[in-house]
């Protein structure tokens, strides 16, 4: 007998959100993410939280920014087409520095594509989907259990760094069920946003003197200030002053890049004797692990690098991982979105072998084994 239960990925995401303290969810129905909205509509009022099904995906993103400004940890969940629609307001959340969690359960695209089948083809959209220069945090879990814990981490990072965090799943991770035991709440680390220590008179919502992440006062708590998607100064009011724009842009960039120690997360499985490595994420990483086991039986040792945080890209970890490797296979359910990043940072000493599948089917362990054996 075990205490684990059969839990679906999307449901684990909702559980993680509730346990992280999420108290507002706005969404719009879309396969394969609707299960998250359905579960949140049931769970949120049980803990005094609120759920709303908005009129469209754009409104859902807008509503969670409003909800977060009013003080609630807020989330929305969608899939490709909806993720496209959310992009403008995602940029607003970045610019106005409003903590939010945006889940994208990836399905095949472009357009309506393959609603019930998995893909990893929004990896670059997560990075560059909204216009303008920006840094972004994106996380990609690979098991139901990890979905739960990474949803919590997504909230922690969003609240800690006053920024939207994207949780990337795929249709299989969202729709599959497997063993999961919800942990005791005391075992979970929850991080809340910083509340101002200054008086309302001394408070500025974008105060550089407060470090890279100034505290965010919820609306209605006596701190009256202005929020805009325009470039702004420390007061939150619009400013096109060159020095002020420069400082804003650099602070928003640096609050991500200088906090890599808390953002980065990589699962590296390497003994040191391997000549071949696999760089894989999400459900493709599960397939890779099975392929690695199969190859071990054939006497071939293969190392694995599995980024859990995919954006910002784990460049340093990759350089370390590549040491001693002659080739790295990069299996992805897309045309090769992340393999480009892998190539960008590695010298020609390492052969980079893409393995791409874009038919809405998981890559199989056999396909990875064959790729490694053939070349």
């Amino acid at each position: 007998m075990s205490n684990a239960k059969l839990v679906q990925g999307d449901i684990a995401c909702a559980m993680g959100a509730i346990d992280a303290g999420c108290r507002f969810f706005a969404g719009y129905p879309i396969t394969p993410a609707s299960d998250i909205a359905e579960e949140m509509s049931k769970l949120l009022p049980m803990v005094g939280g609120k759920f709303i099904q908005m009129e469209d995906e754009i409104a859902s993103m807008a509503a969670i920014i409003g909800g977060s400004l009013a003080g609630a940890k807020s989330m929305t969940a969608t899939s490709g087409p909806g993720f496209s629609l959310k992009q403008e307001n995602l940029g607003f959340a970045i610019m106005a520095e409003i903590p939010t969690v945006v889940v994208n359960v990836q399905r095949g695209g472009p357009s309506t594509g393959l609603p019930t089948l998995p893909s990893q083809s929004d990896m670059m959209q997560a990075r560059w989907g909204t216009h303008g220069d920006h840094e972004i945090i994106a996380i990609i879990p690979y098991t139901v259990e990890e979905v739960y814990y990474e949803t919590i981490r997504a909230f922690n990072l969003a609240e800690m760094l006053r920024t939207p965090v994207i949780l990337l799943m795929d249709e299989v991770i969202g729709h599959m069920s497997e063993n999961f035991k919800r942990p005791d709440k005391s075992k979970i680390e929850i991080i809340n946003r910083k509340f101002p220590t200054k008086t309302p008179e001394e408070y500025f919502p974008y105060d550089e003197n407060e470090g890279l992440v100034p505290p965010l006062a919820p609306f209605g708590k006596g701190y009256r200030y202005h929020v805009t998607g325009l470039a702004h100064d420390k007061t939150g009011f619009p400013s096109t002053h060159e020095e002020s724009v420069k400082r804003l842009m650099e602070r928003m960039r640096d609050k991500i890049l200088n906090n890599r120690a808390i953002i980065d997360k990589c699962d590296i499985r390497k003994e040191g004797n391997e000549e071949i490595g696999i760089f894989a994420y999400g459900s493709s990483a599960r397939t890779s692990i099975e392929a690695i086991d199969n190859l071990k039986e054939k006497g071939i040792d293969v190392a694995l690098m599995r980024p859990v945080t995919i954006w910002p890209f784990p460049k340093e970890q990759l350089l370390e991982f590549a040491k001693g490797l002659k080739k790295i296979v990069v299996p992805e359910m897309n045309f090769g979105q992340i393999v480009g990043e892998v190539k960008k940072y590695l010298s020609d000493d390492v052969e980079i072998i893409p393995l791409n599948k874009y038919t809405g089917r998981l890559i199989t362990p056999e396909e990875i084994v064959d790729k490694i054996l053939e070349g």
């Binding site: 075990s2 019930t116 299989v172 069920s177 497997e178 692990i289 099975e290």
Partner: protein, 176 residues
């Protein structure tokens, strides 16, 4: 031990729920299990499949690639999935739904049995999972029952319990 089971048929037969209950029962037994389903745009009546992987250890690749056990419950499902089974895999069909199979298979009259014995075809899926648990010897009868009872409304307990018993009987009978 690693066993991959696929239940396929049409929407409304309860096969996806069946695949979930089978996986949950395996987990109650202390095993590792994954469950995954495929369905089309039709909410009712389209071809569906519920996949189950049961193992003693961690399951990496999450879904069934080629099942060890393939249960086919409709002609369309046979056309779609009938050829995807391991070389030494076992195909189980219900002769009420599936006809004209050329390759080796076992015919189990799930439909006719529940209809005759229970005067309802609703517990068809319960008979199937109980059959599979017994036939494959991977999931205990108690855990199946526990998983089912956790999920079903009280007024259906009697009929579903009966369906589980019949399924187990058939599982035993067809084993050899």
């Amino acid at each position: 031990m690693k066993l991959e089971i696929r239940l396929c048929g049409f929407g409304g037969q309860g096969l996806i729920l069946a695949s979930k209950l089978l996986s949950q029962a395996a987990i109650i037994d202390g095993k590792i299990a994954t469950q995954y389903q495929t369905y089309g745009a039709q909410v009712r009546g389209g071809t569906v499949k519920g996949d189950v992987v049961i193992s003693d250890k961690r399951i990496d690749h999450p879904t069934v690639i080629k099942p060890d056990m393939l249960v086919i419950m409709s002609q369309d499902a046979y056309k779609k999935y009938g050829n995807f089974v391991k070389d030494d895999g076992i195909i189980i069909t219900d002769p009420f739904y599936v006809k004209g199979i050329e390759r080796e298979h076992i015919e189990v009259p799930f439909y006719e049995t529940v209809k005759e014995e229970l005067h309802s075809t609703l517990p068809l899926n319960m008979m199937i999972i109980s059959f599979l648990a017994k036939y494959t010897n991977t999931v205990s009868e108690e855990s199946i029952k526990k998983a089912v009872l956790e999920k079903i409304p009280p007024h259906t307990v009697e009929i579903n319990t009966k369906a589980l018993e019949i399924g187990a009987e058939f599982g035993e009978k067809f084993k050899k």
